[in-house]
């Protein structure tokens, strides 16, 4: 084909056009540089909150209702509870209540007298009682955690008493949990609390600057009773769903810190970022179908599953070797923790022997699992089938998984509930009690276990109760009512140029304590 060559003047025109284009691009670049936002404020020396802390997180805020889907990342900014969890995720420390006195059938709380809700309503004993009643009437698991509370009486403006209709050693832990924060009674009455948070916390939502599903902005509450304990003057929570983009956001300074996955931890450290890793969840095995005639009624069958659980393979394949393998459900700081208990070791031969001892029953079941867990569950299936079980997997989306696994359709799942962290009382009531929230088939616990629980609850001293709970713990382990424990961690990467580090609460997902972030100025 004969190339069509334009006259010389067109080439000149083209060159001029090119020059104009370059000039326009340069002008646009100058405009961008001139109009971009000012550099991130850094903390100034001196008293009082200052600076902006920007945090990248992987899930969006869907509701301000603290009793619904996990939203601690957001809820902990405007809200506080009577008590709070200590850094170990188990102990209970004062917060809106400064002290409490427990006796056999009541707890008396003394409240701070210098607290107001963000709408100006004073925080009093009546407000605390109104909130507890609100939670009790909610019908959620949080209501179950407060079921031991009967009548409540305001003794004066800042003192109130809870009467206990039944013993509940985990009650204070429950009061420290996410769903038990204090909401302004006026907001409760008007119904606005589900869409607008009105609490006593150090931060107030800045709705004007918030962009839903992008960035949630919070400004410090100038009336907060402990302003000297608050670091950042402003907190921005950036919703960044993609893991790579969250990591990039920290790397490029778009945020000061962000949650990252285990696969980039080494890279983050070598890039000079600070890294904070903490245990957030203790997963374990739910033998749902362990009742009379059930697939897992026989302890030998359950033990076979426990011995066939490929912990280390899962650890390497799915979690970059970051997992810890505990020996029991109770946390190490729990007084009823039994150090002598050991996790079931991985031993396929032992698993096969146990099934043979049980008469080689045909045990077929389907295990559901959420997206992102393919490698771990493939390994479980392979190992269980090698031991002699007949396992099929059912992958599903996360929402589908969480709406399905407790329906009773699946005889065995691997999951957890943070409420179980509150000690043996919660663990038994939630997981093993006939009406427990994690007992969808309503399997009746064995008479021995019930007897041990009743003894513990009726104990006349704390030591006696702890001993009884330890016995329960040992019984659960020896009878393989639970096993396959796996501690999952979360990691936050942060820029050491802008913050000194982050404080977290163990066994509390997404629990970066924003108010204590130390901005470097």
């Amino acid at each position: 084909m004969h190339a069509l060559r334009p006259p010389e003047r067109l080439i000149v025109y083209t060159k001029r056009s090119t020059a104009v284009t370059v000039a326009m691009f340069a002008a646009a670049s100058l405009l961008i540089a001139g109009c971009t936002s000012a550099p991130t404020e850094t903390a100034e020396s001196g008293d009082g909150p200052s600076g902006v802390f920007r945090f990248g997180i992987n899930f969006d805020l869907t509701s301000w209702n603290p009793m619904l889907a996990p939203n601690l990342t957001y809820v902990q900014l405007p809200y506080e509870g009577l008590v709070a969890l200590g850094g170990d995720g188990f102990s209970v420390v004062p917060q809106l209540a400064t002290e409490w006195v427990e006796d056999e059938d009541s707890i008396t709380f003394t409240l701070r007298d210098d607290v107001t809700f963000h709408d100006g309503t004073p925080f009093t004993a009546d407000a605390a009682i109104a909130n507890i009643e609100h939670i009790q009437e909610s019908g959620t698991e949080w209501a179950g955690g407060l079921s031991a509370i009967g009548a409540m009486t305001a003794i004066d403006d800042y003192t109130f008493e809870l009467e206990l209709v039944a013993p509940n050693p985990s009650l204070l832990f429950n009061l420290a949990s996410r769903g038990n924060v204090m909401i302004s009674p006026e907001a409760l009455e008007s119904g606005s609390w589900e869409t607008e948070p009105v609490g006593t916390g150090p931060y107030i939502l800045n709705a004007d600057e918030t962009v839903t599903s992008s960035v949630y902005v919070f400004d410090v509450s100038e009336d907060y009773y402990a302003l000297d304990e608050v670091g950042p003057e402003r907190v921005e929570i950036h919703y960044i769903g993609d893991g790579a983009q969250r990591y990039n956001a920290v790397l490029t300074g778009a945020v000061d810190a962000a949650r990252i996955g285990p696969e980039v931890v080494a890279e983050a450290e070598s890039a000079g970022l600070g890294v904070e890793t903490w245990t957030v969840l203790r997963y374990h095995t739910f033998f749902f179908d362990s009742g009379v005639g059930g697939r897992f009624e026989d302890p030998l069958v359950r033990q076979a599953i426990c011995y066939a659980y490929p912990f280390e393979d899962i650890n390497q394949a799915q979690y970059e070797g970051t997992l810890e393998q505990p020996s029991q459900r109770l946390l190490e700081v729990d007084p009823a923790y039994v150090p002598e208990l050991e996790a079931y070791p991985y031993d396929l031969d032992r698993a096969r022997d146990l099934l043979a001892e049980a008469g080689n029953p045909t045990v077929s079941f389907t295990i559901p699992f959420p997206e992102g867990q393919e490698a771990a569950y493939a390994l479980k299936q392979e190992s269980f089938n090698a031991a002699g079980f007949d396992v099929t997997l059912e992958p599903m989306s996360s929402p589908q998984y969480f709406s399905s696994y407790l329906t009773g359709e699946y005889p065995l799942v691997f999951n957890t509930s943070t409420s179980e962290d509150g000690g043996m009382y919660n663990y038994y009531k939630i997981r093993f009690a006939e009406d427990g929230g994690l007992n969808p088939l309503g399997v009746q616990p064995s008479a021995d276990l019930v007897s041990l629980f009743d003894s513990a609850v009726a104990a006349e001293s704390d030591d006696e109760q702890i001993d009884a709970f330890k016995e329960m713990n040992t019984y659960i382990s020896e009878n393989a009512l639970d096993c396959g424990f796996m501690d999952i961690s979360q990691t936050v990467a942060y820029s050491p140029d802008t913050i000194a580090g982050v404080d977290v609460v163990d066994f509390s997902p997404s629990s970066v304590i924003y108010k204590s972030v130390d901005l470097i100025g």
């Binding site: 069509l4 936002s37 959620t140 962009v211 599903s213 983009q245 929402p399």
Partner: protein
């Protein structure tokens, strides 16, 4: 032309109704218990059933559809199951962001594609032409999500020239908004720009080799005028048609790109709603997308008719 526009607008109504019915029917079969999604691991079975009843999910599907339809006709698309916000609020927040991404990307694709196509056509077979043609092939083949990640890595992380993602409201900070849209625009535009460049190049070469162009040149018509006033006008027809198709495709691409760049557009809302079983948000969003696709086809036909009355649709 006015009659055509009126007819096409009227025909849009039954089309949108069919889309709404199909969407409702398909997504009614999503095996997600919305109440469980809302409650997470909280809540008893009774509480889930109560919540499902509050949301009206225990009513027959046809009843729920007609209730939705009656509201939609009045501009009320219901309330999100998950956030309890009016669906219109959700859509009104996300739609401008998606449109700015798509329209901005398409504009870049058209401008760059036409410019590259003309340049290549003026030098067919040259090294410049080969570079453009080769580059077009590469950009057409690269998946958008991979291109987006590559641009982030190179421009944001390695060079630090632009932010890696995020969104800033234009009204608050036009410069911040602009710098955060550049990488998403490039990601969404480079593939379509390549397609437009190739079609423009082919069309321009055909036009520049035609008899009437030779006649114009022989008569002494200035060459730039020949190129831009005569040849380009005729070469643009397939480009306009392609742009209309691309608009629909880019609307789909935006769903992925919004996720990569953390843009809170309609695509992000749709993906979240799909996972959560939030049917009101899904229904309204997809019907809206269908509306824009149909509208873009109409605009393409109108544009073609304006450019060349001889091929104006009747």
């Amino acid at each position: 032309m006015g009659k055509l526009i009126a007819q096409r607008l009227l025909a849009m109504i039954p089309l949108l109704l069919v889309v709404a019915i199909v969407v409702f029917a398909l997504f009614s079969f999503i095996p997600v218990d919305v109440a469980s999604v809302i409650l997470g691991q909280s809540g008893t079975l009774e509480d889930r059933e109560r919540l499902n009843s509050e949301l009206g999910l225990d009513r027959p599907a046809w009843e729920r559809f007609f209730e939705w339809l009656a509201g939609a006709v009045r501009g009320d698309f219901g309330t999100s199951y998950i956030t309890r916000r009016p669906v219109l609020d959700t859509v009104a927040t996300g739609l401008p962001i998606t449109l700015s991404l798509v329209v901005g990307g398409l504009a870049i694709a058209v401008v760059v594609g036409i410019a590259v196509g003309i340049t290549a056509a003026l030098r067919p077979g040259s090294w410049l032409d080969r570079i453009f043609t080769g580059g077009a092939s590469i950009f057409q083949a690269i998946p958008e999500f991979w291109l987006g990640l590559l641009l982030v890595w190179l421009i944001a992380v390695q060079l630090g020239w632009l932010p890696a993602g995020g969104f800033v409201d234009f009204g608050r900070n036009p410069g911040g908004w602009l710098e955060r849209m550049i990488l998403p625009w490039l990601t969404i535009a480079l593939g379509p720009a390549s397609q437009i460049a190739r079609i423009t190049r082919t069309g321009m070469i055909d036009q520049l080799q035609s008899q009437y162009v030779r006649a114009l040149i022989a008569r002494g018509t200035p060459f730039p005028r020949v190129v831009f006033r005569y040849a380009l006008k005729n070469a643009l027809l397939p480009v306009v048609a392609l742009a209309g198709l691309l608009l629909a495709l880019l609307l789909g691409s935006s769903f992925v790109i919004e996720g990569i760049f953390a843009l809170p557009g309609l695509g992000s809302e749709v993906i979240d709603a799909l996972g959560d079983g939030d049917l009101p948000v899904l229904q309204a969003s997809i019907v809206l997308v269908a509306f824009f696709v149909i509208l873009s086809n109409l605009l393409v036909d109108v544009a073609i008719g304006l450019i060349n009355p001889k091929v104006r649709p009747q």
